[in-house]
Symmetry: C2
DNA sequence: TTTCAACACGAAAACGTTTTCGAAAGGTTT
DNA sequence: AAACCTTTCGAAAACGTTTTCGTGTTGAAA
């Protein structure tokens, strides 16, 4: 077993000082070509690579980005990580991933853990519990210490920092509008409880478009689902008790569940019922029938978030303080679950 | 903006030495209760937390695990990460994730990057290109330096280290056997090219069970799919030209594609055609009909891999050198795509 | 009064870098 | 021969910890 070689060892071996070795390897003109070449050859032979930890300590920069998300087993979040990793890689950064499991406490612990020197900045999406509690002291703390933070998707207006989102409200508006344009009137909404920021916004978009078309809002058609557990039950209830033309779901899971339940009742898709879902993930693409979705380009969100963070990191202490919120455009991807 | 406070600053502020501060915070008996309490109060007030980088440098331990996988936008890999993260978290470790994008070069670069002090060990699954080239010098290098490595799923026998896999061959055997037990004879296999280790093993299991039942192997029924691009095309060819009773697919994607193509041709599932797939992911659960799968418990694999790595890390230099290969059991999850 | 132990604390090294500054050696100019 | 410049290198500080060892003070025992 050959342990990693350090400057000190090279110096000792060649009988020169550590400074000479360091300078030689960085091609300093201070060093004569003789010794420079000698050191470089030796270093190459022993495959010397500077120790990242020592560099981090010296430069006070780790070149790593901390990512904190609620879940990784979620296609959307996985795509965002993928996007972040792409630009991080291009810029010589590493990413260190922590999962909050939708828990406030885990989010805080992870953040404090990483904030103690492990990362230069954060990219994160808030856990449900954090959004519910509206307690952002851990974020504020980190921001106060001068570490940049970029929030995406699940954000809060109470936190001053860069953000990347889609225009949830507009997307919901347009998707619902699409359904209305097909002559559908009784449109149900499958959404989450209101404290989830995106759920709330999507609900607002839905309400607005109904209002703009003079369609009366029927509260019975708005199903707020707290946990995935009671998803089936609540949707079943809707299908049994209400006659509806279409469904707008705030995620794929609700959509595919509704779709399967409807089909099992003999309801024809899209003839009797149209379905549109947020998040263009795996399920929509491979379900039968395939589902019309609002694409939420995770890769692009991730890339954008990483770009914003790195830009701020390399800006040094310019202290722009001028935080931006980037909106990633969405597209309606029309598939088999809606009438053409 | 209040930057992070250090021992030195506290020392200066309280007019004591750095050592005194450090010892006070670690409750050393060397320090009088007076100063100890004073220092602790001050530290708490200024929310002092030791700097991880400095600790890493001193202890020569980073308490982070490097994960290198081909892709993250793959449900299976996402679940493995999730499993790793669980035990890592329990043991006070962080995980730093790098993606190889199935590229040998990226795998090497990422590995060298992380090996220079950033992590204490690695958990990884080989990229396709690496498996094809059979070039493992980067892994060997790291192992020689004394960093533990745990391979999962896509492994190689040429590398001596801990491993976590499922018994791909046995699982394929049993799944095919299940199909045969339902009276099905003409069973097609949708697999990958042979250099992907798991593809090869699953193919072997398929071949063995046919042999054991005295069923002649028809090479026309074995479809080796290189890239997802020509997936449709090749499967279509199979369905057009051969009459088959069942399909065993080495992943969900092949299975759902076959399923959809078959249905579009009026073939009834499972009456006319049964389908079984490896990897119990999202697609199988939500496709219509739902797909019978061989569960490949990613969480459990991740947890096991992390446990093995951490055990070796904490073992210090015991140098067991006795590498283990853990087999995670699989289950056949019977759903609608196979006759009952 | 001397000696010794206990107590409380500080100096310094170590981890592996980079960088600033100083200095020795050699050569060149007056 | 004196003064000065250039070349080439090394010592040391710095990043933030922890830990070993040394040291000064105090009080008690001899």
């Amino acid at each position: 077993m050959r342990r990693k070689v350090t400057l000190k060892q090279i110096a000792k071996e060649l009988d020169v000082s550590i400074s000479t070795v360091s300078k030689s390897l960085r091609d300093s003109p201070e060093i004569s070509e003789d010794t420079r070449l000698k050191v470089q050859a030796f270093a190459k032979l022993y495959n010397y690579k500077p120790n990242n930890i020592a560099l981090s300590l010296k430069n006070k920069k780790t070149k790593t980005i901390g990512i904190i998300i609620p879940e990784i087993v979620h296609h959307f979040f996985a795509t965002v990580i993928s996007g972040i990793e792409q630009v991080a890689n291009e810029c010589g950064y590493n990413v260190i991933v922590c999962l909050s499991d939708e828990s406030f406490d885990k989010e805080v612990i992870n953040m404090e853990m990483l904030a103690n020197g492990s990362t230069d900045g954060f990219i994160m999406s808030l856990s449900k519990e954090t959004q519910q509690k509206k307690d952002f002291h851990h974020l504020q703390e980190v921001i106060n210490q001068g570490m940049p933070v970029v929030l995406f998707d699940r954000i809060s207006n109470d936190i001053l920092c860069d953000k990347v989102i889609i225009d949830d409200q507009l997307a919901a508006y347009e998707a619902t509008n699409f359904l209305i344009s097909k002559g559908l009137k009784k449109i149900a909404l499958l959404t989450t409880v209101d404290y989830v920021s995106v759920g709330k916004l999507r609900t607002d978009g839905y309400l607005n478009v109904l209002h703009d078309h003079g369609i009366e809002v029927d509260e019975n058609l708005i199903i707020r689902i707290e946990d995935t557990e009671h998803c089936d039950e609540k949707i079943n209830e809707l299908l049994e008790n209400q006659s509806i033309d279409a469904i707008l779901a705030v995620n794929e899971l609700f959509a595919v569940t509704a779709l399967k339940l409807a089909m099992s009742k003999g309801i024809k898709i899209p003839e009797d019922l149209s379905v549109v879902a947020f998040t263009d993930g795996i399920i929509s693409k491979y379900s039968t029938p395939t589902i019309t979705t609002i694409s939420q380009n995770g890769i692009k969100m991730g890339r954008k978030a990483a770009e914003m963070l790195i830009k701020r990191l390399e800006l040094e202490d310019e202290e722009d303080e001028h935080y931006k919120t980037e909106i990633i455009e969405t597209n309606l991807i029309i598939r088999e679950s809606t009438k053409s």
